[in-house]
Amino acid sequence: MTLLEVTGLTKRYAGLTALDRVSFAVSEAEILGLFGPNGAGKTTCFHCLSGFAVPDGGRVVFDGRDVTGWPPHRLAQAGIARTFQIVRPFRNLTVLDNVLVALGHRRYERLGALLGTWRGREPRRRALGILERVGLAAEADRMAGLLPLGMLKRLEVARALALAPRLLLLDEPFGGLAAEETAALAALVADLRAQGLTVVLVEHQMRVAMALVDRVVVLDHGALIAAGPPDAVRGDARVVEAYLGTDAVARGH
């Protein structure tokens, strides 16, 4: 079943077409790799899906609902969670409280937000459960600003999971991680997919990413140039060209 359907997605920045009529679909419980060289439009696409950019054209349909142009907090409440490539923890809150912010996502729109408390035992128990899944339970009461990068990357995932999402958008989750940290995080992502979560993964570290994804969409200069299973895309002539730049060589630049 299709969970996310992107049709003709277009985004322009001051004359530059960052995304040019890109269409693809993501099925439930699959990991889709969103790949392409620098400046291909991956980040723009990511922003359009998470609400941080409003597309100039095209549609995004999530779970049968047209969510095109929705603001980030509404998408988060609707079940699309994202992580940040450059980690953005709430530095002066504890690791646990970082997760609690996202756990409250259903309450912020209601007057009940004034009545309930986030300092109770029940919210703490649920947040600890999420921290356990990403292996951060031992750090729960530390200030988030004091954690090393590897842990902050996992905190990004924990915060996203606290939204109880159906679709998880991961923006270069493996960047800057040591080998064993990468392996642990990759195992976690595979595990989440096994539990039925759908993932869109933007990643530069091809070796990890290719092993993880079910299907790949490749962008170049804002346009979709290839889509399919990893093995098929790996051999695609246009993909090789986009990454190695043979056209640039041929034109004598």
Binding site: L100, T117, W118
Partner: protein, 290 residues
Amino acid sequence: MYVYTVATLLGIYCILTLGLNTITGIAGQISLGHAAFLGIGAYTAAILTVRHAWDFWPALLAAVAVTAAAGALVGAAAIRVREDFLAITTMGVNFVVVAVFLYFPFFGGAFGIGGIPAPSWPGGSLGKPGLFLLVLAGVLLALGVNLWLLRSWVGLALLATREDEDAARAAGVNVRRFKIVAFTVGTALAGLAGSFYAHFLTFISPEDFGFAFSITILCMLVFGGIGTNRGAILGAGVLGVLPELFRPLADYRMLTYGAILLLMMRWAPHGLLGDESALWRALARRRGAP
């Protein structure tokens, strides 16, 4: 009686720093125009009681409501601007409000409004001790509002907004709405203080609510420890009482406050009792190891 006068003034400062703490300390939205909201509250209360013969209490409610509405408007403007631009915007709001008080005859011009009646209680007017108790109740109310907020999910959303707006949005926080909430609550408290201030002084004029006073309030908050309610109260208490204890200091008040602000920013950015201040951490350690 002099003691009551000083204590009442300190109480009003406390309500102001607590309100500013909601906006700047908890929600992280810098405001350099808090005195303007004190002024809006004071003028509302003064005009209603002096010219329209309203009773003290309904005028107080009106002062809070009008000020909160003005605060909500500024909060809505704060959606578009961040950090240093917000500082300049709120500063501009302060100058505009003072100019309106000064140039529109409706507000009494440079002479302001005098003859503001003493607050009344069912059964008679309140004396100085009575007014002090009323202001004290106001301080407790302001403290209660902030403690309630911090305990609720709204408070967590405000803290997240302070820490990182984009991350907060990604976590499902409607950052725009919560900025308006913070400004509305914080300025409503300033409106409360404004009503007390008008009835306490019985005479108000535009220069009472200038930019310099906004900086004074911010200075008190930073001195005590921005982000914490104990810091807000301590800062208002200490810096409010200093000019009374050292009369010569009163003439150099702004110089002193400016110097304190600079020194604190350089060597103790968490204030005297902020969560990360040396003093508070030492106290926390002692409590932790009995």
